[in-house]
């Protein structure tokens, strides 16, 4: 009842303060208590609040003084309440209240008896006009009143201090109390914001304010009330039916809210909620001193930080086990110990005054909202919140500004809209998801799937504006001409120089990728210069076979098959594609609209970009469009009969020869290769036992490959995308040579892109070991230059004009000797800085052989070992450079020796120029086992040097016998 009194009281005050409003308001309240009237009154109150802030204190005191007296009057005289209620004569409600008042004496006893019925009570209270006397809650209030008047006054004061955290005594309150009451009312009106009848409205207000004030005297447990509140929230039908019993009520609602509309539903929900909240709040206040209720779903939170935002308070909290409740069971949330953000609306915040280190209980039904971008959930609907431990109780009560402890958040930027405003934003999102890329890629961003489309839509200065999604089929590097400091755009590709002049010295190389789009179109993208040639492997590993996005690329040139036959030989090796192609006419659906792969494209675009232009997709696996190298055996390659194509294989390098007098890697290199497939006997398919391969200057050899080629050890290498032309193998642009190792854990250089497992690689034919010694083809009339053969014959002649000898250091084998000044015969070795008293004598000798081949002149340049075995070593030692007789040499048998075919002249007669060589695979064996028994023990092996002629230090030509 005290609440009711206060309510009236506040209205009275209002009448006093806003005389201009009074008529208006009461008329409206009686006639049409619409939301507008509420709002207008609220506005008045806000104006009032403003005026409080701005006007002198005296005025406030004066007005509030009157108010206080009103309160006292009202609280003290019950009859006044009744009369005022009757005087208002709004409806039967007041009668109900007063009539219940008359029953008051019995209520103390009834209170106990009625407890089981309590759950229904909140409903009854908010709907008291149904006149169900049993349910009227008045009983308690009246009993409260009976207990003491002081309580009411204290309550009043307490409420004020709750709202304003002002610890001033009730007598000094006047400034605050009217404002408090007013604000309470305003907020209630505001939150009502609806057209309920004035009676209903006021009744609710009554309930709330009554609950807020009559608090401590009630002795019911919170759980009781919470339960009842829950029942309120969970039984949607009942109140609706009851409401509909009041004709004017429903009529007004229908007029305002569309029937079945959202607003109507929310209105219903919130009126239910409000009642529940009111009851709960009332009880929670009364129960603050008693033990907290243990209910499932209750949040026990410690406040860490509080900020105010748009009149709401946002508290960063941490889940906590309540102290003294160690038995706290089955509370899943407390175990998460996660932080949550809790939002309190103005009313709750005003009551709760959350401050750091407070412990707050939040009872269900709260809501949890997980927001993108926030690690913690946000708790909404925190109406049922209760502070169980106040860390700053003293501080709050002693300092007047305690309420404002929450930092106020600056207003959010009005430019920051909350999404959804842009029309069609959603549809764009869903259409972006439709962009399918090869059916395999999970990239949902919008990339152009077609190279041609992207190139057609050229942007400024030849740059391709769109990102294009492609599959990197091949990664390779090309040498950059030293002189070409001009950009790649002007030089129109670095490839012209490759065939013209091998000026690609010093080895600056440019990284290139051959890419293919989902329509089958190819492009070569020329990227950045590689700081080191060996970086190529890293890029092969990163990119090859992956779906990548090209961005920031420029078009360099459109090339045709005729202009870049090498490039197209690589493209042809990738044709037809492994996957069905998309139909260019139908971009949307690729699964059904596939076209059979036609002939390979006849043109393609050369593009240029930077390292960042190629961005691999997230997927680590190779794209299904990727066509990896298929390794073939050399036999298969040689016998395939296709004129010109690309192939990949692993082979052992038997012999290396540079054509110019330069090191490997600078200029053309010839390698003679073999593999197990060539070595094995297949009488039905006879084939060469070795094959020559030319490494063009346009093929970049990495340092590890160069090292291996320059080392005396035999090496196996992997050749990728080598070209077979007219039975000759060629490594040119786009071919990649790597050291091949069967060790899967081994160095990166072993087939770095797709390392096979050990077992797999061992089962491959090229992983078999070569037979020892390596077999070579016997010399035949069909022999071609730059190939190897095994040769044996009888010396029939000696080319005296090319024969000479020179001394070499007997320690290190170097021929860089200086004559000592004192003695004529002594030398000084420049290389090993030693005195050479007994120099080895080196001899160059070319002989004519007669072999099994008839009508054929064979001229063979012999190696030192063979020469030594032929010549009489004793004679050599004894005569001391005096020369040898030709007769001693003629008729000697030579061979079988391995020989490299230098020249083949077929006209007028077959004439073959050969050079005896030392096979790499045999080299170790030869020195160890001394295959040629006649070789002198002191001879040194010079074969690591290039085998071309060396300038002799001194000449000691063979002498004819006198």
């Amino acid at each position: 009842m005290s609440a009711r009194k206060r309510k009236r009281c506040s209205k009275d005050i209002k009448c006093v303060f806003f005389p201009d409003d009074v008529n208006n308001r009461f008329l409206k309240a009686d006639r049409e208590p619409s939301s507008r009237s509420c709002v207008s009154s609220a506005k008045s109150w806000q104006n009032c609040g403003d005026s409080f802030l701005e006007s002198p204190l005296i005025k406030n005191l004066k007005s509030s003084g009157r108010k206080l007296s009103h309160i006292r009057q009202l609280t003290q005289s019950k009859s006044l309440v009744q009369t005022s209620a009757i005087h208002r004569n709004e409806d039967a409600v007041n009668i109900a209240w007063s009539s219940s008042d008359s029953e008051q004496p019995d209520d103390e006893t009834q209170n106990q008896q009625q407890r089981p019925k309590r759950p229904a009570r909140p409903t009854a209270l908010s709907q008291y006009h149904t006149r169900e006397k049993d349910d009227l809650p008045v009983i308690d209030t009246d009993s409260d009143l009976d207990e003491s008047e002081e309580d009411a006054e204290k309550d009043c004061g307490q409420q004020i201090s709750d709202c304003e955290s002002d610890d001033e005594k009730p007598e000094t309150l006047p400034q605050n109390s009217p404002e408090n009451v007013k604000e309470q009312e305003i907020s209630d009106y505001m939150s009502d914001g609806e057209t309920v009848t004035c009676t209903a409205n006021s009744s609710r207000l009554d309930c709330e304010s009554f609950l807020l004030q009559s608090g401590e005297s009630s002795r019911r447990s919170v759980s009781d009330w919470v339960r009842s509140a829950q029942v309120m929230l969970q039984t949607p039908k009942k109140p609706l039916e009851r409401q509909s019993k009041t004709p004017e009520d429903s009529a007004k609602k229908k007029r305002k809210f569309q029937s079945g509309g959202l607003a109507e539903r929310l209105n219903r929900l919130q009126s239910r909620q409000r009642s529940a909240v009111s009851f709960w709040r009332h009880q929670s206040i009364s129960e603050t001193s008693t033990a907290t209720v243990d209910r499932p779903g209750k949040l026990v939170l410690e406040v860490l930080e509080v900020q105010e935002e748009c009149s709401m308070q946002l508290a960063l909290c941490e889940h906590q086990r309540p102290p003294g409740e160690g038995h706290q069971h089955s509370d899943p949330l407390s175990e998460e110990s996660a932080r949550v953000l809790v939002l309190f609306n103005r009313e709750t915040a005003a009551q709760l005054i959350p401050a750091p280190r407070d412990i707050i209980h939040i009872y269900p039904p709260w809501q949890s909202l997980s927001t993108e971008g926030f690690s913690c959930d946000i708790i909404l609907n925190t109406y049922f919140s209760q502070k169980v431990y106040s860390a700053s109780k003293l501080a709050v009560t002693s300092t007047p500004g305690g309420v404002l402890s929450a930092g106020r958040c600056r207003p959010y930027s009005l430019c920051k809209t909350f999404g959804l405003l842009e029309v069609g934003g959603l549809t764009e999102e869903s259409s972006a998801a439709q962009v399918d890329t090869f059916g395999s890629s999970g990239v949902l961003t919008r990339h152009c799937p077609s190279l041609l489309e992207a190139i057609e839509a050229l942007g400024q200065a030849g740059s391709v504006g769109q990102d294009v999604e492609v599959v990197v089929q091949r990664v390779y590097s090309v040498p950059v001409p030293e002189s070409s400091s001009v950009s790649i755009l002007k030089s129109k590709g670095p490839f012209r120089s490759s065939s013209a002049a091998p000026s690609a010295e010093k080895g600056r190389t440019r990284l290139c990728v051959l890419v293919q789009d989902s329509y089958g179109m190819f492009s070569e993208v020329q990227l950045h210069l590689l700081p080191c040639k060996d970086d190529l492997h890293q890029y092969i590993h990163m990119w090859e076979g992956r779906t990548c996005v090209l961005r920031g690329i420029k078009v360099v040139q459109r090339v045709t098959r005729e202009r870049r036959c090498r490039l197209f030989s690589l493209i042809d090796s990738l044709w037809p594609p492994v996957m069905p192609l998309k139909d260019p006419g139908n971009t949307s659906n690729m699964s059904t609209e596939c076209r059979p792969a036609g002939p390979a494209p006849s043109f393609c675009y050369l593009l240029s970009g930077q390292e960042s232009s190629v961005e691999p997709s997230e997927e680590k696996t190779a794209s299904p469009v990727y066509l990896p190298h298929t390794r073939q055996t050399l036999r298969d390659i040689l016998q395939s009969g296709i004129k010109s194509r690309r192939c990949s294989f692993v082979a052992t390098v038997l012999y290396k020869r540079t054509l110019q007098s330069s090191d490997v890697g600078q200029g053309e290199v010839w390698l003679v290769l073999t593999d197990p497939s060539l070595q094995e006997e297949q009488p039905e398919r006879p084939c060469r036992r070795s094959v020559a391969l030319c490494v063009n200057t346009s093929c970049v050899l990495t340092s590890s490959v160069l090292r291996a080629l320059n080392s005396p050890a035999a090496c196996r290498m992997s050749f990728r995308d080598a070209i077979v032309e007219h039975g000759v193998l060629l490594c040119a642009e786009m071919s990649v040579v790597e050291i091949y190792s069967v060790d899967p854990k081994g160095n990166l250089e072993s087939s770095s892109a797709r390392p096979e497992s050990l077992s797999q690689s061992l089962s491959e034919p090229w992983a078999k070991t070569l037979p020892q010694p390596v077999r070579l083809d016997p010399l035949s009339p069909e022999i071609t230059p730059n190939s190897l053969c095994s040769l044996s014959g009888v010396i029939v002649g000696v080319d005296e004009s090319t024969a000479y000898s020179w001394p070499a250091c007997n320690h290190c084998g170097s021929d860089n000797l200086e004559k000592s000044s004192e003695t004529h015969q002594n030398f000084h070795c420049v290389s090993c800085k030693a005195v050479v008293d007994k120099p080895d004598m080196k001899i160059q000798l070319e002989v004519l052989l007669s072999s099994s081949l008839s009508n054929c002149t064979l001229k063979v340049k012999l190696q030192q070992n063979t020469i030594m075995s032929i010549l009489n070593s004793a004679a050599l030692e004894g005569t001391e450079c005096l020369g040898y007789d030709v007769e001693n040499v003629l008729g000697k048998e030579v061979g079988p020796i391995a020989a490299f075919v230098r020249v083949v002249t077929r006209k007028p007669a077959l004439w073959i120029g050969l050079e005896e060589i030392c096979l790499w695979g045999d080299r170790q064996d030869k020195s160890a086992n001394d295959i040629n028994p006649r070789a002198s023990a002191g001879s040194t092996d010079l074969h690591t040097r290039p085998c071309s002629a060396q300038p002799p230090v001194s000449s000691a030509p063979l002498r004819r016998p006198p």
């Binding site: 929310l266 909202l369 106020r408 958040c409």
Partner: protein
């Protein structure tokens, strides 16, 4: 201090949009959450949504704006790229006192967008320019 309310609002709208697309309903708890975050605005905005009061006006030039028919029949023009409404509540509650994030008209725009019940209307470029500059008397 970081402002959390916009993110909360945005998430609410997203949830409403998603749920409404799937079920053509807005469940009670979302309505209550709306009420909790936006206060009394929520009910009024929902009423505007019920009345289908929000229209998206577009002109051939590609400019767009929202028009919300208020309870009194007055048209309020709200913009797409920022929060502004010429209604008194916006001036008072949002701009002056910073007590709420939105007025009921803008909230109604968001809800209509989320539910896909925004009316569409085309106007001429001239009308649009008058509309946006506030010189049009409707």
């Amino acid at each position: 201090m970081y402002s959390f309310l916009p993110a909360v609002a945005e998430q609410l709208f997203k949830d409403i949009q998603k749920t409404y697309q799937e079920t053509s309903q807005i469940p009670d708890d979302l309505l209550l959450a709306l009420k909790f975050v936006f206060g009394s605005c929520a009910l009024q905005a929902l009423d505007l949504v019920d009345q289908r009061s929000v229209t998206c006006v577009s002109s051939p030039s590609g400019r767009k704006a929202f028009q919300v028919m208020g309870g009194s029949g007055r048209l309020y023009t709200c913009f797409m790229s920022c929060h502004f409404c010429p209604c008194p509540a916006f001036a008072h509650t949002v701009l002056r006192r910073n007590e709420g994030p939105l007025c009921k008209h803008i909230l109604a725009v968001y809800l209509c967008q989320a539910m896909g019940v925004t009316q569409q209307e085309s106007v001429s470029d001239q009308q649009m320019s008058m509309l946006l500059s506030g010189t049009e008397i409707l």
